[in-house]
Symmetry: C2
DNA sequence: GGTCCAATCTAAACGGTGTTCAGAATCTAA
DNA sequence: TTAGATTCTGAACACCGTTTAGATTGGACC
């Protein structure tokens, strides 16, 4: 509030106990709620603190800074996404189908949890040097995808050779498709065609599988 | 600065003329320079104004708000990218090669102009309801890609049928690859493999072409 | 029980931000 | 030359992230 002469106005609502008890958790859930209702721009540390009925300085006992809080939220998103991807992978009948299922899962998740999506694909918002937990999650996701690609190649469901380009390509499709479907442009395109995003996503997934199998020979 | 009792400190450096003359342009270039040197977080309207030697209120005669300024910068990026994509398209020997070239161009551009890239793939930073010029550029880019895909299909270089899924997939690869290569994760992956991003991008592009042709039958 | 320490929270402050507004300075057209 | 529109200034308002000293509390040890 700057060098105001009079003090900051009342920043919190009164609470029965001096100690909050589970502030860290409530800060995270309040952030998610705020992103979901008013967009990521509405998430200020002060506002989150207000929402939790706590003074502006309190969050600093649980998070180093604003970025760390957003990081924690993003980490939660990564964990949930990885879980869903694993489930989709397990439910698929073949490695090729698993790849298609993972792409669709990626998009479905991003659309179902826009709050997470807005954070996860924008590392500069949850800077500085992602915490190790997030890093481990990302690593696990890449590994899951790499294993699936290898299985595809082994079963003749994908072009042979170095799996890295294939992994990168599929990863890009996931990230790009999720981003475009959350940010708007795809919405607009499907609407113009009298289609829907889930529909288009399914078609992209099917096409990808066709192309994988078709070029395996 | 809040309701400080004493006035804000000097916010601008003196200038010979009262009117700036080309403020709108200088605000845009100053923004680009700022993003390039200190990241997008460093771009505040006040700082840009200071950089241009102008008071904090002056930019509001040229841009409705901060988002509008960022939007103008992003529009410039879109225009430059479209131009490069068109050049790559024209230089390619076949429609399939053109698609590969466009993917590589997309990534190269994003890496060469991180300032633009940081804005272009994050519409929520340059909100509200993109101006018509930007919209037209995006539309032109989609059309260019769609035409190329149709040419591919006509020449037996891509699976036949509705071009929309193919367009969406390629678009996603471009956006995803560009995003991942700018934001870090790809950098890290290539480094671990003793490779580079341009190299990997080239491999992805080549793989995409192989898959397109291979699954055309 | 009491004592002491570490963790938590408050209140105030500092400097920064976006945005608005009245009024001064200047350009433009008549 | 004058009138009106444009551009810019300077001050103000309400926010923001972050730091700090000091109050309050929980838990461990006696």
């Amino acid at each position: 509030m700057g060098g105001d002469v009079k003090a900051d106005r009342l920043d919190r609502v009164s609470r029965a106990t001096y100690h909050h008890g589970a502030l860290r958790e409530e800060l995270i859930t309040a952030s998610i709620a705020l992103i979901e209702s008013d967009g990521i721009g509405a998430v200020s540390l002060r506002r989150v603190a207000r929402e939790a009925g706590v003074s502006p300085g309190a969050p600093y006992h649980h998070f180093e800074d604003r970025a760390a809080l957003l990081n924690a939220v993003a980490a939660r998103g990564y964990a949930a996404l990885l879980e869903e991807a694993r489930a989709a992978h397990a439910a698929a009948g073949s490695p090729v189908e698993a790849i298609g299922a993972m792409v669709e899962t990626y998009v479905r998740f991003s659309r179902a949890h826009p709050a997470y999506a807005q954070l996860m694909y924008r590392p500069e918002l949850s800077e500085p040097a992602k915490d190790p937990a997030t890093e481990a999650l990302a690593q696990a996701a890449i590994q899951l995808l790499t294993e699936t690609v290898l299985a595809c190649q082994a079963s003749g469901g994908a072009p042979a050779g170095d799996p890295a380009p294939l992994v990168t390509m599929i990863w890009s499709i996931c990230a790009g498709l999720a981003m475009l479907s959350v940010d708007g442009p795809l919405e607009q395109m499907t609407a113009a065609r009298g289609s829907t995003i889930p529909e288009l996503t399914g078609q992209v997934s099917a096409l990808l599988q066709v192309m994988l199998v078709g070029s395996a020979a």
